[in-house]
């Protein structure tokens, strides 16, 4: 493929997304509205679920491990909410394009736009769940430091960009290989147990490398640590920035070489 054709594909994709950001927000917003309409609590059912999980886990694991509750409960709570964001994007990303096939087959639409709407939907969920975090921090404010808090937004932003790349990439792969979606669902579950959601990386002792090698650990930490009054270590930032660059680069390369196939894949 000629260079000019490659840049044209990328330009169309980016312009087609930036141009329609208002539509992406509208779709994410109306999607949230319909969920409120179907049940009075709407997405807060999700929040209720999170709340129950946090409460139950805190009681049981708190008793099992004999940890300080004022550190343990916020840590588990923030960890779970971030985990839902990470696992949700991974699982939904794989079927993202296929789920929007009528759109892709009937309207000339940027594939990045489709990925962006998926990310926005996940972020809406995240902010709903954030209510649980606020509640827990109000009850256990010991670790929270207001001067560290702004770093949370930097972390969330970086993770969002990284996830956009991931959604886009697995979206393409999942459109071509339909069994990728169930495969990812199956893998995400065990990943939960080696990702420091229910524990802190430093509790692992000599096995800490397991957490360090797991990219999800670092994505989790740049969001969780600032809410726990800690600044994430430089190595974690480096890994997250690296992951973001890699996921976005791979997603761009995938788009350049396969954008023109996508319509046939989801057909």
């Amino acid at each position: 493929m000629s260079r000019s054709k490659e840049t044209k594909i990328l330009r169309d994709e980016f312009c087609g997304t930036l141009d329609r950001l208002d539509l992406a927000i509208y779709i994410a917003w109306s999607d949230t509205l319909t969920r409120y309409r179907r049940s009075a609590l709407g997405p807060f059912w999700l929040v209720l679920g999170t709340l129950i999980s946090v409460g139950g886990l805190s009681l049981v694991w708190g008793a099992l491990f004999e940890v300080e509750l004022e550190t343990f409960i916020p840590s588990v709570c923030i960890g779970l909410v971030v985990w839902y964001l990470l696992s949700g994007t991974l699982i939904e990303g794989a079927s993202g394009f296929y789920a929007q096939r009528t759109l892709l087959l009937n309207i000339h639409v940027s594939s990045l736009f489709v990925s962006t709407t998926l990310l926005f939907r996940q972020l809406v969920n995240f902010w709903h769940n954030f209510v649980v975090i606020v509640i827990v921090i109000v009850i256990f404010p010991q670790n929270f430091k207001i001067e560290v808090f702004p770093i949370f937004f930097v972390g969330l932003f970086l993770v969002s960009v990284c996830l956009l790349g991931v959604i886009h990439l697995v979206g393409y792969l999942g459109a071509r290989f339909r069994d990728l979606s169930p495969l990812i669902s199956a893998v995400v579950q065990p990943l939960f147990f080696i990702t420091p959601v229910l524990f802190r990386p430093d509790q692992l002792g000599t096995a800490e490398f397991v957490a360090a090698l797991n990219p999800l650990t670092h994505l989790l930490r740049v969001i969780r640590d600032p809410l726990m009054g800690e600044i994430p270590p430089v190595s974690t930032w480096l890994v997250v920035v690296g992951l973001t660059v890699v996921s976005c680069t791979l997603a761009s390369l995938m788009t350049i070489s396969k954008r023109q196939r996508l319509a046939y894949w989801v057909n």
Partner: protein, 237 residues
């Protein structure tokens, strides 16, 4: 000045069957040199458009005719930028709007009003423009109280009315239509025909794929006949 230029365009269409869409089968075939999992690489390719060349200029109202599978719909989707030609070139000047599957982009859980905004924005309108279109679309669709209900409660006819009303409310420069005007009651059909006539006249280029001779004589001044993906006849009417 709007135009469409198609030069030696060929569109080859891979047809994947279930096995070739499986990552597991692909891995097995790599691991075993393809001996066990036969047929994984059997991706059949269909040549839907074969070396097609033509030009459409401002004022052309083109009807695409031919048997089922002659390549009419593929051509429309290629002109819309959904499919890309495997070889050859397509050059298009002007904002393209499409009416292919009527319900494409609708969300069943949303009300008629919300779907109007959504569909209009998908077709390229800004949010404020889309909202301004609501009264006109509501009047034309004429489905009364149902406008405020979720779309999943609509009958097929009502869906067609809504989707068609949105599609013709946006005045495109280039309008591509894949025959869709089958549904709706006779009264609506009549109004739809009139409206389509005025939309077709205001668009600078209009391309319609249809089997109906009546539609061709009604809307078109040029007919392209396709057979097995080849352009076999180009006549002025």
């Amino acid at each position: 000045m709007s135009f469409i230029k198609v030069r030696n365009a060929t569109v080859e269409y891979p047809i994947y069957h279930a096995n070739s869409m499986s990552l597991r089968n692909r891995l097995v075939s790599v691991g075993t040199g393809g001996a066990i999992s036969r047929g994984v690489k059997n991706v059949v390719t269909v040549k839907a458009l074969d070396d097609v060349s033509f030009e459409i200029n401002e004022g052309d109202r083109v009807g695409l005719v031919g048997h089922n599978g002659a390549g009419k719909s593929t051509l429309l989707r290629t002109l819309a930028g959904i499919y890309s030609p495997t070889s050859g070139e397509i050059e298009i000047e002007g904002r393209v709007s499409t009416i292919f599957e009527l319900a494409a982009g609708m969300d069943n859980e949303l009300t008629g009003y919300e779907n109007i905004v959504r569909l209009a924005m998908l077709a390229g309108a800004r949010k404020s423009e889309a909202k301004n279109l609501i009264p006109e679309i509501e009047a034309f669709a004429d489905i009364g109280e149902f406008m405020a209900m979720p779309v999943h409660s609509y009958s097929a006819g009502m869906l067609t009315r809504l989707a068609f009303s949105v599609a013709v409310a946006i005045r495109p420069e280039i309008l591509l239509i894949d025959e869709v005007l089958g549904a709706g009651d006779p009264e609506f059909q009549k109004r739809a025909k009139q409206r389509l006539k005025s939309v077709v006249e205001s668009a600078s280029i209009f391309v319609l794929a249809t089997h109906s001779k009546e539609m061709i004589t009604l809307y078109c001044n040029r007919a392209l006949r396709f057979e097995h993906g080849r352009l076999v006849q180009d006549e002025r009417l």
